[in-house]
């Protein structure tokens, strides 16, 4: 190949239309979703320990599940909520959900709708959605006194007294495990601080990949288990042997990572090739 031609190819690749990159990124995500590769996945210790904790609760235990996120992070936390609910229902646990984020209540509703039927769980008997309440840490603290006072009605406006499950549940004392799914503030750190720190409850949960490093220091002493980002959700799906959207997403995640690393390498390669030509006085 003539050196001039090589220069022009290198030069063209150096200043490649970024839309080519966009197409490759899209392909790296779409193709693995359509045709899963089944790359091996193993669960990390924080995920496994959360699984063990839920597994070891006696049947009929009450799990308080906090939906502290909104639709923007549903992609990471939604699959976690489904996997955790499936696990709880399959073990015969009762689930009480609430939300410290306004949109969390309807996300909880959607997650229950996708899981309850499969396990024959009935609203009001096996699970209850208390809905949203503003106030963050204050709400978490008030549950130690009385859930009925903080949430007199459920998400649909039904008084709690009319829900059989809630007749015997009134404070942390009646709850066996607190699961927090959190996208930020208010979220898991507050549950750890109050429910675990002050009331001695067992606390575990999930968070977005971005906030995982902030929460790792709490594991395993204050936080009994943690699912970090979509990978954490996929690990939990693996543990309960029910593959869902997170598992499907994992292949895409690996391929996309590899692609970006490749971009960095190629970008630098062409950069240096172009530069060495420059030094020799070639045309840019």
């Amino acid at each position: 190949m003539a050196p001039e031609m090589r220069v022009s190819i290198v030069e063209r690749l150096r200043n490649i239309d970024r839309r080519v990159i966009f197409v490759l990124v899209a392909a790296a995500v779409i193709i693995p979703l359509l045709h899963p590769l089944g790359l091996p996945l193993k669960s990390s210790p924080p995920s496994s320990s959360l699984y063990r904790e839920i597994e070891n609760l006696g049947p009929g235990s009450v799990v308080l599940m906090a939906f502290d996120y909104d639709p923007a992070t549903d992609v990471e936390l939604g699959p976690m909520s489904l996997a955790l609910l499936k696990h709880c229902f399959s073990r015969g646990h009762k689930v009480v959900s609430l939300a410290l984020w306004p949109m969390g209540a309807s996300l909880a509703r959607a997650s229950f709708a996708q899981t309850a039927e499969e396990f024959g769980a009935k609203y009001g008997v096996d699970y209850v959605n208390l809905g949203f309440k503003a106030g963050g840490i204050v709400v978490i603290d008030s549950l130690g006194k009385s859930i009925h006072e903080s949430f007199p009605k459920d998400v649909d406006g039904t008084p709690l007294e009319e829900l059989p499950l809630m007749r015997n549940i009134n404070s942390y004392a009646d709850i066996d495990f607190v699961l927090g799914l959190s996208a930020g503030d208010p979220g898991l750190p507050f549950w750890i601080m109050i429910a675990q720190g002050r009331y001695g409850k067992k606390v575990g949960g999930g968070c977005t990949a971005v906030s995982a490093p902030m929460l790792y220091p709490y594991y395993p002493n204050q936080l009994l288990g943690l699912l970090g980002g979509m990978k954490g959700a996929a690990e939990y799906e693996l543990l309960i042997e029910a593959k869902g959207s997170a598992t499907k997403g994992m292949d895409a995640q690996s391929i996309a990572h590899a692609l970006i690393v490749l971009f960095v390498i190629i970008g630098n390669l062409f950069y240096f090739m172009g530069r060495s030509r420059e030094k020799r006085g070639g045309q840019i």
């Binding site: 490649i16 509703r109 692609l259 630098n268 950069y271």
Partner: protein, 212 residues
């Protein structure tokens, strides 16, 4: 009057907020949340100003038939179909507001957010280059963390002993050099914020009131 009263208000509010941190006794115990409520309420009223500004700009655009004026109609319609039911019907489940939030706002919001994946890729290709020594360091650190955070990193370095693999390198970078750098930036900008706030409270920095 136009200049002095705002400066006095800034000073009094600033000092009060500082004092409340040191005095747990009433009335200072309630000051923080009261002030927070107050400025949330001011911001909510200011929202009306913003909406007026937005509406006026686009009404003018339509009136003057400026370029792309048709899209201004789309914007105003979007605003109206969200705000009118939202204000009168409420924002709970089952309302028009909630339908639009779920099926228009959320998908557009998430899609805008997900554009970042594409931009991260193009920035990696275009700008993540070892042009200088500094840039090379940035690149190497980024590379190590990117690889170390995905299963692929450890696969590539599986010949290394336990504790010396890619994920360990990533963890080490996050824990030490990264923390040190972050901390220096945090301390510097923390001081910058403290000094700027001090100048604001004392009325030395007053550009927000218009001019020096």
């Amino acid at each position: 009057m136009r200049r002095e009263i705002p400066l006095i208000i800034t000073f009094v509010c600033g000092i009060t907020m500082i004092i409340q941190f040191f005095i747990p006794h009433w009335p200072f115990s309630d000051v923080k949340s009261y002030f927070q409520h107050t400025y949330m309420i001011i911001a909510a009223f200011a929202m009306i100003l913003g909406i007026c500004n937005l509406t006026r700009l686009h009404i003018f655009k339509i009136r003057d038939r400026r370029e792309n004026w048709g899209y201004s109609i789309v914007l105003l319609v979007g605003l109206a179909i969200m705000a009118i039911p939202g204000l009168f019907q409420g924002i709970h489940e089952g309302t028009m507001f909630e339908f639009l939030f779920k099926n228009a706002h959320v998908p557009m919001n998430s899609t805008m957010f997900s554009l970042l994946a594409f931009f991260v890729a193009s920035a990696s290709y275009r700008a993540f280059r070892a042009r200088t020594f500094d840039a090379a360091l940035l690149l190497i650190a980024g590379f190590a963390v990117m690889l170390g955070r995905a299963p692929i990193g450890d696969t590539l370095t599986s010949f290394m002993p336990e504790g010396w693999q890619m994920s360990d390198l990533a963890n080490w970078i996050m824990a030490f050099p990264n923390t040190a750098g972050q901390r220096a930036i945090m301390m510097g900008s923390g001081l910058g914020i403290v000094a700027t706030s001090l100048r604001v409270i004392l009325g030395i920095e007053r550009s927000y009131l218009g001019g020096e």
